[in-house]
Subunit: 310 residues, 4 copies
């Protein structure tokens, strides 16, 4: 996890230490407010958090009542809850992040509806001249395996041409934006021309333009976000945010995050028919595709279990 | 706000002080973990919180961007947000409560869906012998004004009879519950009899039995809860919880809570037709009921504005 | 699926046929409005629905765009969506049910928050004299395997005693309720006594009392409800409702329901460590518990796959 | 409400008539599937709906119980529910729309989280060459009254220049997009060049590019959408969609929509302090600003009530 240089305002925020009776997590306090850089201009900053691994246990034990406390250790209980899909105890932790991200990433992110968002408004304010340009190694062709995602990386000459086109368009769009705004504070301000309303001037800006928001969610829903967005099928540009946030979660609630990775993130789901196949093989039968599994599903199954020549 | 005597476990939790870089609210820290008593056996305890009035301003300013900061004061901004129904900045604060409450109150409470709940489970654990009995001054007849709510308080003799019946039934149901459970730890345990499963033994318990839960929600949704449940039309037994929580919120985010009380809780909504009436009176016309307001609505309007003989 | 005798009002509702340009499902139209009986006094009635299997495909294809339509068949697409956790297309179908159920079942049901509910209000109206009594074969002891659920069925004599106690208490509570209400329409009305407010009179009623509501949810969230509540670990009294609703869903969206049962309901989730075990066995290694799987988890694993002596 | 020419596929969908026992609304059936044009390339199509005004009454009466039915008329009940903030009965109606809209409008729209969305995916499919260009009368300067919204319309010459810039940039971005994709079906396909992955090629497209989605929501949340987005403070480009949808809702549930317009959309909210002012004026006192109302609020108050020289 690389960290950017905190600016003056962040330094001030970090310097303010208070006493609290709430649960605190030292590892997370250590990185509070700091900008963790993502992509070329993006970042993730932890602004605040509520609860820790212990808070999950505490909430779960209201539903289990007295007595359980002595029997189970905290770790075993958390893993039991995760394994058996008890989601409400994980909702008892909450985290608030400040994120800077390209608009096309924001458009995927916002589909996770059980979260609170305050986004920078281009109706009120002027956007900075910052847009995302992929690094060369991420410029890939459309995959040929399915209809979605990336395949082979472009050759050097072609990649250079792509980057040139993306940059040129982004710069031209931004120049048009400032020209339309004709803001009095701009060095190129033309006093003879009326500026266009901000809410209209921005409509020609590209989807690669950076925006930022405060994003707050509970741990259960954050796990749901990570399962979909830290997955290899997610688009690279959102996945890299998700992976960084997963690293943060590991520091915040290490026991819960490990359970999540074991029982959700890296778990494998067997369909009813696939479970029957596994049952038979565990009982000594030779592996073979049954009729109720299509060849496409069988190929997905073989891939997941590294079966050669299935 | 009266407070119960914290027991040993709460004393330990309160003694644990840590340093944090997060925003803290001294007035709320002072009452963290403490049981605030409600009804005869209920309580509300603040377990944790995230954010303060400043956190609302901070989140809102992401959407307002640079510049605004110098112009508006925090208080003016919070009041502006509340007045113009900007709800997302208030979602940036979160509070977690431990509440003990009668089941019939819990059934009303749970209808506020945008909250996280972990409830004590009577499938796993045995419920305590605690049930709600109204105090004498709250024993009232059905109101005759509408189909819902309470009217005149019962006379002493009748009230005594009602209390006797409620107590007797609650005690008998609880005795049956323990008998059905036939728990090995019970003094009356009968070794010759099998105990009934907990999930079944409890079905005869009354709705006045106390349960408890951890309840966590954001400030915007908490205001929604307060607007409906601290309202005079809410049933007394949930209203008294809501009023206590409103007192807690006043200590937590005093500026936001004041704005909520001014622009929501104590605000008055005029229908399109009523607004026209007020417009005319402000312009000097004499007050009279227009045809597009029914007599029932007119009577509600007169009541809200203390108009006599309207 | 047994069906109750529709009363006059239902007969009228069923007789009203209209023409529509919306998708319709003949199998569901055939049972619309009819009461399907559950437990001793409960029922489930389908009131309305939106969409069918085709509506899921149609919505998904907005996100896939033109072209796909020719390649994939509808069934393959629906199964692909289910297998790869694409939940939004399933949210495009909606169903509305009228359900009569005991209050302790309603308390579990309402924890599924992404649904719309209108419940019969005991603040406004008087509840009927109907409460749930388990049938003899469902009277079971607390299980000894875990802290939750039922074990062996009670012997006849003990069962009879339990039923007697449950019935006696429920009848007494209901008699008290009517006495407290002292409703003018009651044959036993005592004109010398004031009736207690409805919202208070009901607090002594047992959790086995029946209530009813209109419940509306989308297909994705309905599947979530079914996965948890039609599961063998769910309490029998809610499971039997869930199973009936699953039967209804099979008639409504047969392809989606089959995919749900194959990839969710009857699927088996392997933890990261368990998946490694299966991978090794599929590659020819002998089955044995690795160190990173606890004995408790290993025993759960063995049970799920019918492994003897693992 | 102007309607576009339905294409062949829509004609087929409209021709399919079925019989149903569900409530139907003739006025809505008449426009089902038809494209209602919005902006230069957008549209709104009603795909499906559930319920009518009667369904709201039916659901509400579960909570009122028997007896009420005879007393209140449906219209009075619906207006009572709206006036007293009973939201759950309105959640019992649902509507599904197919909408084509510019991305910057979609970004505002999606903030209404309690809705179901399936959006056309530019990771899977290629976007059409369609982008929004404001008509000349909507090209306005930034307002000088507050930080948000539009002021005076631009003069002809300046407007022409703005339109030229917006169109030129949008066309160039789209040309770059197709060049990056280098799709084999394109007439300009260059066989010597690898196409860029779709998920990357689209990042330079402007926010004015059109997207489309299926959007489904219940009536209560739709009213929430309309209150904010059909409001004069909403950006013109989303407001025009909201106004069209409000026209559709008027045809679907006329009684509820009228109640919504009377008690929400066109209602006026008085703060506690403002209500006191009105109370005093209604009692005969002369109008004047009390100390607890700031000059800014007083000016907002005067504007809402058309008070001159307040």
């Amino acid at each position: 996890m690389t960290s950017g240089t905190p600016d003056a305002e962040i330094m001030v925020a970090r310097a303010q230490m208070s006493e609290t009776r709430r649960p605190t997590v030292a590892a997370l306090e250590a990185i509070l407010q700091i900008e963790h850089r993502v992509l070329d201009h993006g970042f993730v900053r932890v602004i605040d958090y509520m609860g820790d691994d212990g808070a999950i246990v505490q909430a779960a034990r209201v539903s289990y009542g007295r007595g359980t406390k002595k029997v189970s250790e905290d770790r075993a209980l958390i893993r039991y809850l995760m394994r058996h899909w008890h989601s409400t105890p994980f909702e008892m932790c909450e985290i608030k992040l400040h994120v800077k991200l390209p608009i096309f990433v924001a458009r995927q992110w916002v589909r996770h509806r059980t979260a609170n968002i305050n986004e920078y408004s281009a109706r009120y304010s002027i956007l900075d001249r910052e847009f995302y340009t992929p690094s060369r190694e991420h410029l890939a062709a459309q995959t040929t395996i399915n209809r979605q995602g990336r395949g082979a990386v472009l050759e050097e000459e072609q990649a250079a041409r792509v980057l040139h086109l993306l940059r040129e368009d982004a710069e031209r769009s931004y120049a048009t934006y400032r020209q339309l705004l004709n803001d009095p504070d701009d060095p190129d301000h033309d006093a003879d021309r009326t500026g266009l309303a901000r809410e209209l001037a921005r409509i020609g800006l590209g989807l690669s333009t950076y925006t930022q928001w405060y994003w707050k969610t509970d741990l259960h829903n954050l796990f749901g976000f990570l399962r979909l967005r830290a997955d290899p099928h997610a688009q690279f540009e959102i996945r890299i945010y998700a992976e960084l946030i997963r690293d943060i979660v590991r520091q915040w609630v290490p026991v819960s995050c490990e359970a999540f990775e074991d029982y959700r993130m890296n778990a494998v789901s067997l369909s009813a028919a696939e479970a029957d196949v596994v049952r038979k093989v565990l009982a000594g039968t030779t592996l073979s595709r049954p009729q109720n599994i299509s060849t496409r599903e069988w190929s997905e199954f073989a891939t997941r279990f590294g079966i050669i020549g299935a």
